[in-house]
Symmetry: C2
Subunit: 465 residues, 2 copies
């Protein structure tokens, strides 16, 4: 039996006890159980389905102290942040439960003689992320939205927080059993091999993923190479560019500079929405403010040894051939001209952690050209002034073709969980630009339309009628 161990990022020490890797036979058995659960779960009355999500939220809340302690030991994210993330996670479960209770949730559109319903796609595989041990992990947004859609879930735990995952899974399983969920509504697997077996399991009908471009692409490739390809909703890498007009620098340059440093170093820069590119006009005069802000950032505790290694390599990549604007134990900030930037595509690759690149443009034309050239991202941000309306309108139109969310005079970090959120974007931000992994619309990833033609109302599935 192979065991997986978490590591305390503060000390580098291995955390006992180890968590056994899931065998191929166990994965297969979970797949069968999930398939068996699919129809009874789909046929639960919607208020009962919603109550399952609420039962999980209640149980997580009751175990929050223990879970936060475990997660802090494995991730060093700190108890304050983790408690907040737990609230976000339970809030999300309750928001999605409310959505499943809402009128017409599964009854999409009527025409005389026709009813189109939105029914659960079947068992869903969820690949948890390293950087949100609750909100994008075992009971995170992918799991909650799949349950809200009426789908059994099998989570592949992230190896960065195995004990937190095991304990969260126990809390979930207990809550679901007590609330009367069909057996097979939830399972968890551990280990790389188990994760690959899961995406190939014939009972799995869709998958959600949050993580790196490399890992996400490998699983995406496996999902679409199956004899029966399945939808794979991956949220991968994002550079999250920020554009600042000359007027905005003139009006509030220092505030923007401090805000930017705050945003790219928040959570040690380990957010998928961390801004990685800042477009400032030539001669912005903000070096001193930026350096001061960077100097006051505390040294990061990166989530895992692997992330720490990748960050060191990433910083080397960014600092080679660029001007270092600010450097501290806590963060790195370099600058290039827009001309040099255009020839260095490696500067647009995500560097997970507290490092960022300033691109200095010489003219509005260069600014517009830069906006047209940025790769697909989860977010793009614009800081502008009312006097910039024409320039801003053009930039907003351009950026809406490159990012799933356009932020105006704000910061991309901190993703609201609501009905209008889109947390997605063109490749490489995601593997499917039509879908979001945050907000109520995330449920739609796991619902398939079925049109009933000429069917008497009393024969419609009760949850549709």
């Amino acid at each position: 039996m192979t065991l997986l161990y978490g590591v305390d990022p503060r000390t580098g020490e291995r955390l006992e006890p180890g968590v056994p890797e899931t065998t191929a036979d166990e994965v297969a058995a979970f797949g069968v159980a999930a398939a068996d659960a699919a129809r009874p779960l789909a046929e639960l009355p919607l208020p009962e389905r919603a109550a399952l999500l609420e039962a999980v939220a209640d149980a997580l809340e009751a175990s929050a102290d223990e879970l936060v302690r475990l997660a802090d030991a494995e991730t060093a994210l700190g108890r304050t942040r983790l408690s907040g993330e737990m609230e976000r996670t339970t809030g999300q479960l309750r928001l999605l439960a409310g959505e499943a209770r809402s009128d017409g949730f599964q009854r999409d559109t009527d025409e005389p003689g026709f009813v189109r319903a939105l029914l659960p796609i079947g068992p869903v595989a969820v690949y948890a992320a390293s950087n949100f041990p609750f909100a994008f992990s075992v009971a995170g947004g992918d799991t909650a939205s799949a349950w809200a859609a009426g789908c059994p879930v099998i989570v592949k735990a992230h190896p960065g927080h195995p004990r937190t995952s095991v304990r969260t899974a126990e809390v979930i399983a207990g809550a679901l059993a007590e609330a009367g969920a069909p057996g097979g509504t939830f399972a968890i697997v551990h280990g790389l091999e188990a994760g690959l077996a899961l995406i190939e399991d014939p009972h799995i009908k869709a998958a959600g993923f949050t993580g790196s471009v490399r890992g996400g692409r490998a699983l995406f490739d496996a999902a679409v190479s199956r004899p029966d390809p399945i939808p794979f909703y991956g949220e991968l890498g994002s550079i999250n560019p920020v554009f600042v007009t000359p007027s905005a620098v003139a009006a509030r340059g220092e505030e923007i500079a401090r805000g930017y440093v705050g945003s790219f170093t928040l959570g040690s820069g380990q957010f998928c929405t961390k801004p990685g590119l800042l477009f400032l006009p030539d001669g912005h005069g903000l070096d001193a403010v930026l350096a001061e802000a960077v100097a006051s950032v505390e040294a990061p505790s990166l989530l895992t040894p692997r992330i720490a290694d990748a960050f060191r390599t990433g910083v080397e990549r960014l600092t080679a051939g660029t001007r270092t604007v600010a450097e501290s134990a806590g963060a790195h900030l370099v600058a290039v001209t827009a001309g040099d930037f255009a020839g260095r595509p490696e500067l647009t690759e995500e560097c997970f952690g507290p490092a960022s690149v300033i691109v200095e443009y010489a003219s509005e034309e260069e600014l517009r050209a830069a906006a047209a050239a940025v790769p697909g991202s989860l977010t793009a941000t614009l800081h502008a002034e009312p006097s910039d309306a024409d320039l801003a309108r053009g930039l907003v139109a351009e950026l809406s073709r490159h990012a799933g969310r356009v932020v105006y005079n704000g910061w991309p970090t901190g993703v609201a969980v609501n009905r209008a959120m889109h947390h997605g974007g063109p490749w490489p931000a995601t593997t499917g630009p039509l879908h979001t992994s945050v907000g109520t619309a995330a449920i739609r990833r796991f619902q398939i339309p079925v049109t009933f033609q000429g069917l008497p109302g009393e024969l419609l599935p009760p949850s549709v009628g």
Copy 2:
């Protein structure tokens, strides 16, 4: 220069003049032009966008006689059917234009501080089908829905009707130019190599396809293997099972038998919704009626020599080891027991053309087991009586997990174009079970959500505000 020729299915003769295959350089140039058109097309006010679709509908209508004549020569589908199909095609363009004019078409959801819009994904590749030279071809549903979404379209013509495609494309191009569409809003390519180059073109952001499992899978594989994978909406093969309860046979067996033969031989069985499996109770006593109905079916003119060859092979596959119930110049109908059927998965493969399989079940239990075992299909049909309510409810719930449309006491052929239609289904019916290629919801395949955060209303794209 390689030329492609249509063939008159009635005579087997080659139709002059030939149509040149599109070169790789030409495909690349179309890709660039489509990319250049993407933003101006996206930024047209929605009423102007809608007017483009209406201009194309008007122009097609004005050239309908000529186009129907060309299509009849290349497909032998008959002028009555083709005139009807042309009406369906122009009706669809106008329905989707109306959708693009409707309130809130691109403004999806609001929350305080957030607006989620649905914006065009970018240039779309459309792969035309053989069996609908208008409605699923150059100006068919995929093209119309991509334009309605605001996307430039490059069509890969079907080699079964090259001259119809060329002439339709000329009519479209003229109408778009006159209506003031951006150059690059539409192009057409011919040839297998051109079709492969198109799916790999970096400017193409999504694709729609209607055709065979083999062809669709090859293009799907290419689409998802790109450095930047793109959504590929393929409608492939479907067996469209029909289930008849014992009470329905008792109440109206002969009517059902005649209706079934009518449905599976309609259009010489060359519909994606052709029913390929009929589940009847043992001892149904309908052999004579079925044989009589089959005897009166006229000999088919299959669309292309390739389809005719595949049909002959398919009939050999179906007749081997089965009981022939009825056979005529026009159609083939064979039968097996449910027990034998379970061991012969090849009987669930689509046989394009007027052939079908009856499966005789011995008990309600066998009927329910059969419903649970059918492969993914565009449609599933149930004939039942009011006294069957419990049985019917269970079957409907089961069938909704296997088909995109569940038809009650009707026939699957004839797909209504409306707001509640879902023309899709699980693999192998489609490559993506969330989406429809018919009806107004088809537009959503080519719209990507973008959330604007904190953006003053006057900076929103005008088509969103």
